[in-house]
Amino acid sequence: MKREDLTIDVSDLPVYAFGARSLMWWGTLGMIVIEGTMFALLIGAYFYLRGRVPDWPPNGLPPQLRWGIVNTVVLLASVLPNIWYQRAAERKDLATVRLGLVISIVFAVAFVVIRFCEFRVLNCHWTTNAYGSVVWTLLGLHTVHLITDLADTIVLTALMFIGPVDGKHFVDVSENAFYWYFVVIVWLPIFAVLYLAPRWI
């Protein structure tokens, strides 16, 4: 048999795919691992510094619980429209995707605003001591993620409205939701560290 007779024909394969089949998913996962590592280390630094002093917070009060709890609820709730539009994206249901993205933006604006309320009742300042430094930095880093997530989602929503929309853009939408889940889930240990640890430990 001549060499040219042995072929594997891939012309029927699709040109986009969802989930772990797509390159974008792996790229997003890489980003998540990188950011997650940074958060993990910052939390490690928090407890390391804790071990160096007898009182924690030193000479002060822990952050006020109210806005932290409210924001945690808002963040967790924001997962719902994300799941909704992610499933719609996999069906290529553009109308639902558009609506879901807009609702997510509303949630994102809400949690960014509430985050600023959280900052105001942290009961410490970064210039006072190492405790204040690490608390502000940890909350600040997560806030940067909230803001970039909001910005990404706005741009993506604009794209989905302006069009034209191809299958590949639905994959991008799905990955946006993936990143969103990370931003929410990584908040849970940070919340525990900032708000609960100084009270319980």
Binding site: V10, V15, W26, W126, T137, A151
Partner: protein, 669 residues
């Protein structure tokens, strides 16, 4: 072709039918890189960006080398007045920072960017624009560092910048901030490249290249990419905390307000130790690539070698405290790190034994790349053994922070990485440029480098044991250090000559060197299955792979993949473990946005060493350029639509449009 044959016939030397020729022309047109000055900033092919990484890294290698020569000249005599303390302290910091951040890692990543897609049989690297962005950010970071150095604001606290010396109280001016921001530039660059390499290796391999057939160099690049992802964020965090302490008054490292000076060391070395393995592991990949070719047989112990690479990567994260043995940490904790630091010798030893076995059972072909491999064995073994010595807490307390340590790490970094690197450069130069480097000059380069290197660094072991600490701009006479220092300086000059000879060799070969055919060494990996230099689409024929040395595993008899379009930048995406065809993907077109985003990001990074507001203000151009980057152009929209409508049936849950119908979602509210 089998390994026993000498390299004469190129595996791409198939009879090119008219169809194939037409396909090649179309591919060349589709994948064409832009030209001209503006076009230079829009290139996205991995071979272009890989070459830029390699050349830029080599330039920084030369700059770091000049700094080393200056240091050696200053230390040649006691109480020498060639360089004053301020300049010397800047120079040794620049030397370390340049070599570690601007040469070693980018060079290894650059080789990866160039070779990995070729070795896995892909037409381009994953996320090419991201890789281009990574290059520009690296370049701008290096330029920023040297610009500040020329303004007498170069960092001067050593390449690991301990606090409180680098903190706000003891390091006035911007020098320490320049260092910290250099970290930010290079670490973001390395991170994006690492993500691109991982996704390339996982998803873009040639059908048939299952996980147990991935070339060892690719495995090495994969392992370091993972290491980069876990290690670099640590140093990013550390340098950010340092800038925050210096710029806005945080107290991470200020013991007076609850901060801790050892926190810096923990964070830095948690990155710093894996960093040296990030530099060393690709060199082992280079050895595993070169050795089989010059032993005319497959590598011995492929599985053991892969396991050793992965084990080294893991264990490498558990050693960092051995840089802190003099800080008085609890002895029990230190013992754990002694054990781990000794244990890591085992996977490295396993690699050495496998290579020895390959040689033992092979047929020797002595060419310059092999000479550098032999040099590696000699030099790295010395370095590795002194490493075992340093792992002992008690002995460490005598030799830590002395020239003994300087000798050790130069033996493992130069012996263990630079020698294999030069071997790799001699090995892959024909593939990258289409010309051979002179074999005769290569032997001179090797010989001089071997002699110069050992003369420079071997006496330093003795110097350290005789009491000479490191990072001293001068020393008193009468302590018995004069002769050894002079010897080291002489050795350094010989090393400099060998590097200059290499550069001369490279320029001569580029101009008038012997032309190289596709596979002058008769090697077995896929990068040799295409022209030298490779066409911009890498491969015309996508043959299935049947072993971990594809060209030696009945390459001619393998089936060919058809159906990947040549009128669009289509690549085949395969599954992670088995590399079975999964779907196709349209690679992005050349674009200037990665360059513009890098410029905007540079503005943000540089501005933020002067004022925290630069982060807020700088975010605006960064956002704008990133939107420009990701917003699809009309031509890209059309190409994507053409690709999606062009196929006839969906696979799995992706139901595409039928025939030429417009997709159901377009234009409907």
């Amino acid at each position: 072709m089998t390994p026993g044959e000498d390299a004469v016939k190129s595996p791409t030397d198939f009879s090119d039918s008219v169809d194939v020729q037409r396909e090649r022309r179309q591919l060349a047109e589709t994948w064409r890189e832009p030209t001209g000055l503006v076009g230079w900033f829009s290139c996205v092919h991995h071979t272009t960006i890989g070459r830029r990484f390699i050349i830029t890294a080599f330039v920084f290698f030369l700059l770091g080398g000049i700094e080393a020569v200056l240091m050696r000249l200053q230390l040649a005599r006691p109480e020498n007045r060639l360089l004053g303390p301020d300049l010397y302290n800047q120079i040794f910091t620049m030397h370390g920072s340049t070599m570690m951040f601007l040469f070693a890692v980018p060079m290894m990543l650059g080789l990866g960017i160039y070779l990995v897609p070729l070795m896995v049989g892909a037409r381009n690297i994953a996320f090419p624009r991201l890789i281009a962005f990574g290059y520009y950010l690296y370049l701008f970071g290096g330029i920023f560092l040297y610009f500040m150095f020329l303004l007498n604001s170069g960092p001067d606290n050593g390449w690991f910048s301990y606090v409180p010396l680098a903190g706000p109280q003891y390091a006035p001016g911007k020098r320490a901030d320049v260092w910290a921001q250099l970290i930010t530039f290079t670490e973001v660059s390395s991170l994006v490249v690492a993500v691109g390499l991982i996704v390339t290796v996982f998803k873009l391999r040639r059908p048939g290249m299952s996980i147990n057939r991935i070339p060892l160099f690719v495995w090495a690049e994969l392992v370091i990419s993972f290491m980069i992802i876990f290690a670099m964020p640590t140093v990013a965090l550390a340098s950010t905390c340092l800038i925050l302490d210096r710029l806005i008054g945080t107290h991470f490292f200020n013991p007076a307000e609850g901060g801790d000076v050892l926190l810096w060391q923990h964070l830095f070395w948690f990155f710093g130790h894996p960093e040296v393995y990030i530099i060393f592991i690709p060199a082992t990949g280079i050895i595993s690539a070169i050795l089989p070719t010059f032993c005319r047989r497959k590598i011995f112990g492929y599985t053991l070698l892969v396991l050793s690479l992965v084990a080294t990567g893991f264990i490498g994260f558990g050693l960092w405290v051995h840089h802190m043995f003099a800080t008085g940490l609890p002895k029990v904790a230190q013992s754990f790190f002694t054990a781990a630091s000794m244990m890591i010798a085992l996977p490295t030893g396993a690699q050495i034994f496998c290579w020895l076995a390959t040689l033992w059972r092979g047929k020797l072909v002595v060419k310059t790349p092999l000479l550098f491999v032999l040099g590696f064995f000699f030099n790295f073994l010395i370095g590795g053994l002194t490493g075992v010595m340093l792992a002992s807490v008690t002995l460490n307390q005598q030799v830590h922070d002395t020239f003994f340590v300087v000798a050790h790490f130069h033996y493992v970094l130069i012996g263990g990485s630079v020698f294999p690197l030069f071997g790799g450069l001699y090995y892959w130069f024909p593939k990258i440029t289409g010309r051979m480097l002179s074999e005769r000059t290569g032997r001179w380069v090797f010989g001089l480098m071997m002699i110069g290197f050992n003369l420079t660094f071997f006496p330093m072991h003795q110097l350290g044991l005789k009491g000479m600490p490191r990072r001293v701009y001068t020393y008193l006479p009468g302590l018995g250090w004069e002769g050894l220092n002079l010897l080291a300086t002489v050795g350094g000059s010989i090393m400099a000559v060998s590097v200059l000879l290499f550069i001369v060799n490279a320029f001569q070969s580029l101009r008038a060197g012997e032309a190289a055919n596709d596979n002058p060494w008769g090697a077995g990996s896929l990068e040799w299955a295409t022209a030298a230099p490779p066409p911009v689409y890498n491969f015309a024929r996508l043959s299935v792979v049947a072993g971990h040395d594809p060209l030696w595993d009945e390459f001619e008899k393998q089936p060919v993949v058809t159906g990947v379009r040549s009128d669009l930048r289509e690549v085949l995406v395969t599954t992670v473990l088995d590399a079975a065809p999964d779907h196709k993907y349209l690679m992005p077109d050349p674009s200037m946005w990665p360059f513009l985003t890098a410029v905007a990001t540079t503005g943000l990074f540089v501005g933020s060493i002067f004022t925290p507001w630069a982060v807020v203000i700088g975010a605006v151009p960064v956002t704008i350029t990133m939107i420009g980057w990701f917003w699809p152009k009309r031509r890209e929209q059309e190409e994507q639509a053409a690709a999606e409508h062009g196929h006839h049936s969906g696979a799995g849950k992706d139901e595409g449009p039928v025939g030429g119908e417009r997709p159901i979602w377009e234009g409907q509210a």
